[in-house]
Symmetry: C2
Subunit: 237 residues, 2 copies
């Protein structure tokens, strides 16, 4: 049984052959030591997972052919994660965890107290791909461009609820029960939201302020904790 | 308002003076740039949190005096986290998150498929201390020595429930509701439990197998997810 799973941007179907990039060839042949005739699993984030066979190997490329479909596409629930980017390692971590825990879309937002002015979107997207490869998922959440929170809120979809973490008294779980539909989770920066942001959030009819306990959680911990609560109450756990 | 929080091993009370170690002096005077007369918060994990004043500074030490008690000791719920150590960075992460999320005791266990044969207990304990300093906690969970899982289970307290993550069908939240009392969470290694371990766990009357959703979570993600579920259902969130 092959344990190698590879995400391919190319749209897949049974019988489809796909050329490998130099990086993919290096990973399969150099790192994982696979050769012609060996099996692996591939997925494209749209058509499910396929068992594929290596048909050509090379130092700078190669080719695989999809033999059979092993799993259908399994979409995560309609949940977005919005977060204020922090130090590099912790930002990478949030993206990895969001993909693993089944967020449908990952949106870095710039709040008034966010330090980070730019992100490497391509690098974060690569982390999401790697997490999907690792966790057995067939879907890869898109990492959006860094956007100012006030702009995100100005265009906020009327039907999408927004859970944000504040020093509210209500526990997250009680507040979520029975509230199905599209959702987003917003994790503030380490410095907290500004007064203007807090006022605006509390005024939104879609918004729900929840508490994540008596200890102050780091932003990366809060992201995983909030995703767990949502998934176990309204999601696919 | 001082934001510096320091854990001190010395038992604290109002009026108490405490000598600083070389590392503590370096942190307060070198890194945080505090000087004589400046305020900080200190806690000892037993008597709560105190506002303290720096009374002596030096390159190799110094002294602080506790002025007033600012918060009582707040114990976390009686929850242990057992986990199989993995790669260094992810093990550090699990300990940090367990302390942040309010585990009362952190127990690294060696399962049949655990790769790690030893841990640096002192380094992990230092991570728990740092997390407590950071998250505003007044308690520091003890990191136990690495112990074989079969020995831990052989001595398992009759009254302590044990939640472990398996490919069971029941969702974690539903299974936990109403089950108050002392608990532990067991997170298996990346390679999963062995058949013998799984059989033994399922046979224990204290054990509860739960699912953490349809995607395969890394051990560090599973630890945070399981802690969130427990805290939000039975804990102090």
């Amino acid at each position: 049984m092959s344990k190698v799973r590879l995400y391919l941007e190319h749209s897949l179907r049974v019988g489809q052959s796909v050329s490998l990039t130099r990086e993919q060839a290096h990973y399969l042949f150099g790192v994982m030591r696979l050769g012609a005739g060996d099996d692996l699993h591939v997925f494209d984030g749209r058509n499910g997972e396929f068992r594929a066979e290596i048909t050509q190997t090379g130092k700078r490329g190669g080719e695989i052919a999809c033999v059979e479909r092993t799993r259908p596409l399994q979409m995560p629930p309609d949940l977005w994660l919005l977060f204020a980017p922090i130090k590099k390692a912790r930002t990478d971590f949030i993206v990895e965890k969001a993909a693993e825990m089944g967020a449908a879309r990952i949106c870095p937002v710039q709040t008034e107290f966010t330090n980070s002015e730019r992100i490497r979107r391509d690098r974060l997207q690569a982390h999401a791909v790697e997490a999907a490869e690792q966790c057995g998922g067939t879907f890869v959440p898109e990492v959006a461009e860094l956007t100012r929170l006030d702009r995100v809120l100005a265009d906020w979809p009327e039907s999408r609820r927004l859970m944000f973490c504040d020093e509210a008294l209500v526990g997250a779980r009680e507040a979520l029960v029975g509230e199905a539909g599209p959702w987003a989770i917003l994790i503030g920066p380490e410095g907290g939201f500004s007064e203007a942001e807090r006022t605006r959030l509390h005024a939104m009819p879609q918004a729900l302020a929840v508490s994540l306990g008596p200890r102050i959680l780091r932003a990366d911990t809060a992201a995983v904790a909030a995703l767990s609560l949502w998934q176990s109450t309204l999601g696919d756990w």
